[in-house]
Subunit: 254 residues, 2 copies
Amino acid sequence: MTTERTSRAEPRSGVAAAPAGASRSKGRTVRAPSGSRPALDRDSVVTATLELVATPGVGSLSFRKLGAAMGVDPTAFYRHFVDRDDLMCACLDRLESESVAAVDRAAPWDDRLRTLATATFERCRRFPAVGVEMAQHTTSGPGERGTIEVILEAMADAGLRDDDVVRLYGMYTNYVLSAAGAAGAHVLAGTHIGLPEDQAWLGGLGDLDAQTHPLMHRHRDRLEQLMLPQMYASGVEVILDAVRAVVAGYRRGR
Amino acid sequence: MTTERTSRAEPRSGVAAAPAGASRSKGRTVRAPSGSRPALDRDSVVTATLELVATPGVGSLSFRKLGAAMGVDPTAFYRHFVDRDDLMCACLDRLESESVAAVDRAAPWDDRLRTLATATFERCRRFPAVGVEMAQHTTSGPGERGTIEVILEAMADAGLRDDDVVRLYGMYTNYVLSAAGAAGAHVLAGTHIGLPEDQAWLGGLGDLDAQTHPLMHRHRDRLEQLMLPQMYASGVEVILDAVRAVVAGYRRGR
DNA sequence: ACCTGAACACCGTTCAAGT
DNA sequence: ACCTGAACACCGTTCAAGT
């Protein structure tokens, strides 16, 4: 949701300087008009990256690992991406594209928001080294724009007023991106040691004093059974309820 | 909330092997009984780390930067911390200790949860290189335990039943840690380029097509005015409302 | 008992050179 | 036009050596 690359557009594409202040990051790459066609392009690099980070045991993403996986020099990617963050944004935007594609725009507004939230969460866990950065980047790509539009649409269809549409959009987005990103981090850290992914507490409640922490002691078993996916889903439901409450407030209030 | 270090206890402290499966990470350090007293100990390293990461322009945390700041060899810290994650957890636990300390346990339950959430958020932004990892670690320290106890207590005081106490605890914790951590990441990324921190959109809405994205186009100004702290705070309120709704449901339902 | 410093295996990124 | 490979400035971490 935050970092914006100063320039992400077609590195060294020669033509077409980016219009003032705007950044763009289409999936396309300038092709050599003929002869010795390139081995790499943005889309296939993104695909290979996602495949790499989805394989268990591979930790975080690096150009060296990716180069080895694609049989190419680690520095070759700089022909197609300005830096690592640029690649990251392209991968995140692909994930966002896939997530929006999962929502049926004819479904009720709350189903749409639920589906989008779930799809995002699942992708962050499936591609942890990419998902972990979900909350940290504005991709400025088609996936992100499509996602924003779908959320705004759902909020409007719920019956929200303009200012509330944007306010609740912000809450929803902030929650989904933060929590899905954190879930990615969770998987990324756990994959390293090979532990069950869902459990929120991996045994942190070892020894605790019933005198100083009576409630932790009392709820110990329940705490250890907390599961991340359920916690995430409950959070989404609470936001959906908040939307309904605001709409209901219009009727009662005025 | 996730990674647990396999061993974090007093590295090379000689005595006292850790009891089965548990990890501990007290702030204390074994002192030499006499003569040539050590220059470093856990607490002062944590203090120096927080001071370092709070200074603007310093990016992420590294032992080399910290060594330079403390006038000590970068590898000296391995006498007091098993690895970087151990130092990170110690810093996070300190932040959590400070945050719980900010809540008045005599205040109404919702004020307690609000204060705790705000204190956590503010610290993640003030110490971004540490805050960014808030959602990724279980510190197993006194700060974390104190925080959990305070949250459970507030949930119980709100009138929640045992299973709901833990369920709502999970939602609250997941939200606060994820969103505060994401806010830290936001600051960390922005500090690098020196931009205003609060704005959620740093100009990502550059050029957008009113045909394909009518709602984004319509709400453009409102979207650009979304501020992270407000979005975060609204999320907290929504969770507090959810707690109230569950309690109210007890009366109506049965 | 604690700290230093060389060393190793990684990173992102640049730039000259190849084809 | 695109890719290679050496090089630079960083990382975390280990281990022998100093005091």
